[in-house]
C-alpha cells in the first residue's frame, strides 16, 4: 500500500480490478504466508497458517476460545510479532517495516471501542490523522464526516468525553476512529461483544452500510457464528492452534460443512441460520391495502371489497405504518383514522429474514409490515414467506465456487507461475518458491465470490 498514509481519498495504490460493477475498492489484499506464533516452548498458538484475505471483502474469524483468532488478527498489524512467516499487504512485505507506521495505516477496533477516556470524542477520532500530521482543518472536517458516517451528530458528540456516551455510541466512535485516516484494512476484534443484542443488531447493520460505501478489507473476529454469517463475505473457521477447518462463503459453509468440527460449530439448524443470509428485500413482499390517515373511508372499503380482504394498514402522513384496521371498523368511519388501529410488528427491508422472523415471533404475529428508507411502508412479510425461503434455500444449494483463500492444515506451497501469477498448489511435493511481491501479482487474481455475493452487499 504505497501511498495510503496521508491522502485519504486515494485508492491506496490498489490496482486490483476485483469489482468493476461497484464503486472503487479501497481495501487491500492481505496475505499471511506460513505464519507461526509460539509462546515459549508450548504448542504454537498459531501454527503455519497461510491465508489470503481478498481486497474489499469482510472476512470473519470464528472458532472456539483460545484457537488463535486474536493472535492471527494482531499479527496482521504486528501488535503480535509472528515467530516466523511473512505478512504481505497489497504486495508489500510488511513483516519487517516499522510497526508503528504500519499500524497507522491499518484501522483497529476492539471491544468497547478502546477509546482514550481523557480525550474528547473528536480528539479520539482525530488521533491517527494527527499522528500523520494532517492540518487542523482537515482533521476537523474528517472527524465530523466520520461521526456522521456512524450516525452520531458531530455538533452533539464531538466535544463529549467517552464516559458521557452509551456503550453502543462508544463502539461507533471506535469504528469512526479506526476509519479516520482512510486505511485500506480494518481489523476488528469482537467489536460488538460488549453491547446488548438490540444495539449489536443495529451496529451490525450500520457496519454493513458503511462497508457498502467504503469497501475496506475487514478482518473481523467474533464468537458469534450468526454474526459471521450476517456480516461476512467469507468465514474462516479456526480450530486450536490457528488450524483452518474451513474457509468459504457463509452459504458454502452452511450448505457443505467441511467436517464434523464445522458441523458441531455451526450447531443445529443450519437451514435456519441461512435466514441470516437473506434480507427481507430479497424475498417476495406481499402487497396489502394501505390507506393514509384522512383518506375517504368509503373508497377504502370499496378497495378492500374489490381485493377481497378484511384488513388494511393505516399509514401516517409520511407513509409510515401505524397499525391494522378491519373492514368493519372502516365501515363505521367517514375518513380513515388510526384511533382503533391494532399495533403490529414492523421490520426494515434491510433486516435479515432471521431478524424478521424473530420480530414476528416475539410480537406473536404471523406477519409484519416492511418499511424502506425513512420508515416508509413497502408491504408485508409473513411467516409463510420466511418458511418458503427456508425451503428454497435448502432445496437449492448455491453454486460452489472455488474458495479464494486456502489454509494449511497441510501447508500448501506458494508457487509463482509462468507469468508471475501466484497460485496456491496443494501439491505437497512442489517446492516452495520465494515470492517476489513487488509486481503486485494480486492484480491478476479474481474473486469468484463476487458473482454471488456482490449484489447482495451493494
Amino acid at each position: 500500500m504505497p501511498n495510503s498514509t496521508a491522502d485519504h481519498n486515494s485508492s491506496t495504490g490498489n490496482k486490483v480490478a476485483f469489482n468493476p460493477s461497484m464503486t472503487e475498492i479501497t481495501g487491500a489484499t492481505i496475505l499471511l504466508e506460513n505464519v507461526t506464533k509460539s509462546y515459549g516452548a508450548k504448542k504454537a498458538a498459531v501454527n503455519q497458517l497461510t491465508l489470503e484475505i481478498p481486497a474489499g471483502k469482510t472476512v470473519m474469524f470464528v472458532g472456539p476460545s483460545g484457537c488463535g483468532k486474536t493472535t492471527t488478527l494482531k499479527m496482521i498489524n504486528r501488535l503480535i510479532e509472528p515467530t516466523s512467516g511473512r505478512i504481505v499487504i497489497n504486495g508489500e512485505d510488511v513483516t519487517t517495516m516499522n510497526g508503528d507506521e504500519l499500524r497507522r495505516r491499518i484501522g483497529y477496533v476492539i471491544q468497547a471501542g478502546g477509546l482514550l477516556p481523557h480525550l474528547t470524542v473528536g480528539a479520539n477520532v482525530g488521533l491517527v490523522p494527527k499522528m500523520l500530521k494532517w492540518d487542523k482543518q482537515r482533521i476537523a472536517d474528517r472527524t465530523d464526516e466520520l461521526l456522521e458516517l456512524v450516525s452520531l451528530d458531530p455538533e452533539i458528540y464531538r466535544d463529549r468525553y467517552p464516559k458521557e456516551l452509551s456503550g453502543g455510541q462508544q463502539q461507533r466512535v471506535g469504528v469512526a476512529r479506526a476509519l479516520a485516516a482512510d486505511p485500506p484494512v480494518l481489523l476488528m476484534d469482537e467489536p460488538f461483544g460488549a453491547v446488548d443484542p438490540i444495539t449489536r443488531q443495529r451496529l451490525q447493520e450500520e457496519l454493513i452500510h458503511v462497508q457498502a460505501e467504503l469497501h475496506k478489507t475487514i478482518v473481523f473476529v467474533t464468537h458469534d457464528f450468526d454474526e459471521a454469517v450476517k456480516l461476512g463475505d467469507w468465514i474462516v473457521i479456526f480450530n486450536e492452534g490457528g488450524k483452518i477447518e474451513q474457509y468459504g462463503t457463509p452459504e458454502q459453509i452452511l450448505a457443505h460443512p467441511a467436517n464434523e468440527f464445522v458441523e458441531d460449530f455451526i450447531g443445529s439448524g443450519a437451514g435456519l441460520k441461512q435466514l441470516g443470509l437473506t434480507r427481507v428485500r430479497d424475498v417476495d413482499i406481499r402487497q396489502a391495502p394501505a390507506f393514509t390517515v384522512g383518506e375517504d373511508a368509503a373508497t377504502a372499503v370499496a378497495h378492500m371489497n374489490e381485493a377481497g380482504v378484511l384488513r388494511a394498514i393505516v399509514l401516517d402522513s409520511r407513509d409510515r405504518p401505524i397499525g391494522w384496521v378491519t373492514r368493519r371498523q372502516l365501515e363505521r368511519m367517514t375518513t380513515v383514522g388510526a384511533a382503533h388501529a391494532r399495533q403490529f410488528p414492523v421490520v426494515s427491508d434491510s433486516a435479515t429474514l432471521d431478524d424478521a422472523l424473530d420480530t414476528m415471533l416475539v410480537a406473536g404475529s404471523s406477519d409484519a409490515a416492511v418499511t424502506g428508507s425513512r420508515g416508509a411502508y413497502q408491504g408485508i412479510i409473513t411467516v409463510q414467506t420466511v418458511i418458503k425461503a427456508i425451503d428454497h434455500i435448502s432445496a437449492d444449494p448455491e453454486e460452489v465456487s472455488t474458495p479464494v483463500g486456502h489454509n494449511t492444515g497441510a501447508i500448501p506451497k506458494l508457487a509463482t507461475g509462468e507469468n508471475g501469477v501466484i497460485s496456491y498448489a496443494m501439491d505437497e511435493e512442489e517446492t516452495a518458491t520465494e515470492v517476489e511481491n513487488d509486481s503486485a501479482p494480486w492484480a491478476e487474481h479474481s474473486d469468484p465470490a463476487e458473482t454471488h455475493r456482490g449484489s447482495e452487499r451493494a
Partner: protein
C-alpha cells in the same frame, strides 16, 4: 439515539459538573480558615505580653527567616523526590525493568519505615551537620509515596486502552506521554501530596542537625521551657503543612484530565 440514553448522559454530565463545583468550593474554604488562624496567631503575637527571651524568637523578621529556611528544605527535597521517584516509578513499570520492582520497593520501604529522627542523625554524622544531610533524609523519607503512587497509577491504566493506543500506531513513548501518564495523574498527584505534607512535617527535624527551619521554634520551646514559643511553632508548622496540602489539591483539581 433514544431520548432515554440522552437523558442518562445528561444526568451524568450534571453530576460530573456538580462534583466539580463541590470540590472547588471545598478548596476555597481551606485557605480562608488557614488565613484566619494565621491572622489570629500574629495578632496574638503583636499584642501578647511576651518576655524578652520569647521576643527573640517570636518576631516577624526572625519568623520569616525560619519559614523561608523551612520552605527551602521542603521545596528542594520535594523537587529531588519528584525528579527521581517519578522516573524510577515509570522505569519499574516498563518491561525489562519490572524484575527490579521488588528490591527497589524494599529499599523505599526501609526509607520510610526507619524513624526520620534516627535517619537524620545518621546522615549528619556521615555527611556532616547541616542542610545537606537534612535534605537527604527528607528525600529518603518522601521517596516511597511518590514512587509507589507512580507505579500504582501507571499499572492501573486499563491494558486495553494501552493496546488500543498501540493499535493506532502510537509508539511506546507516545503511549507513555499521551495515554499512561495523563491517566495516572490523579493517583500520582495523591502520592505527591502525601509526600509534600510529610516533607513539611519532617523538615522540623532539620533543626537537630543545624539544618534550620521552623523546627527551631519547637526545640527552643522545649529546651528553654517556653510553652508559648513551642505552641506557636507547632501551630505554624501545622498551618504550613495544610497550606502545602491545599496548593497540591488545587494543582490536582486543575491538572486532572476532564474525561476521568
Amino acid at each position: 439515539m433514544s431520548s432515554a440514553t440522552q437523558e442518562q448522559t445528561e444526568t451524568k454530565e450534571a453530576t460530573a459538573s456538580l462534583t466539580q463545583a463541590n470540590s472547588w468550593k471545598g478548596l476555597l474554604i481551606q485557605p480562608i480558615v488557614l488565613l484566619v488562624i494565621l491572622g489570629v496567631m500574629f495578632w496574638w503575637m503583636s499584642t501578647a505580653d511576651l518576655t524578652e527571651t520569647e521576643r527573640i524568637t517570636l518576631n516577624a523578621s526572625y519568623l520569616s527567616t525560619l519559614a523561608w529556611e523551612h520552605l527551602k528544605l521542603t521545596i528542594i527535597s520535594a523537587v529531588i523526590v519528584l525528579v527521581t521517584a517519578i522516573p524510577v516509578g515509570i522505569l519499574l513499570t516498563r518491561g525489562p525493568f519490572r524484575k527490579l520492582t521488588t528490591p527497589v520497593m524494599a529499599l523505599a520501604n526501609i526509607g520510610q519505615a526507619a524513624p526520620p529522627v534516627g535517619l537524620i542523625v545518621l546522615f549528619a554524622f556521615w555527611l556532616s551537620f547541616g542542610t545537606t544531610a537534612a535534605i537527604v533524609t527528607l528525600v529518603v523519607y518522601a521517596f516511597l509515596p511518590v514512587l509507589k503512587n507512580t507505579m500504582v497509577g501507571l499499572e492501573a491504566v486499563d491494558k486495553r486502552t494501552i493496546e488500543a493506543a498501540r493499535g493506532m500506531g502510537m509508539s511506546p513513548g507516545m503511549v507513555l506521554w499521551k495515554v499512561e501518564l495523563p491517566l495516572a495523574v490523579p493517583v500520582m498527584l495523591a502520592g505527591i501530596r502525601t509526600a509534600l505534607v510529610l516533607l513539611v512535617g519532617t523538615a522540623t527535624l532539620a533543626t537537630f542537625i543545624n539544618g534550620g527551619g521552623l523546627g527551631l521554634l519547637i526545640t527552643t520551646g522545649v529546651n528553654l521551657a517556653l510553652d508559648r514559643v513551642l505552641i506557636f511553632g507547632s501551630l505554624l508548622v501545622a498551618v504550613f503543612a495544610l497550606a502545602v496540602d491545599w496548593i497540591a489539591r488545587v494543582i490536582e483539581t486543575a491538572v486532572t484530565p476532564k474525561g476521568l
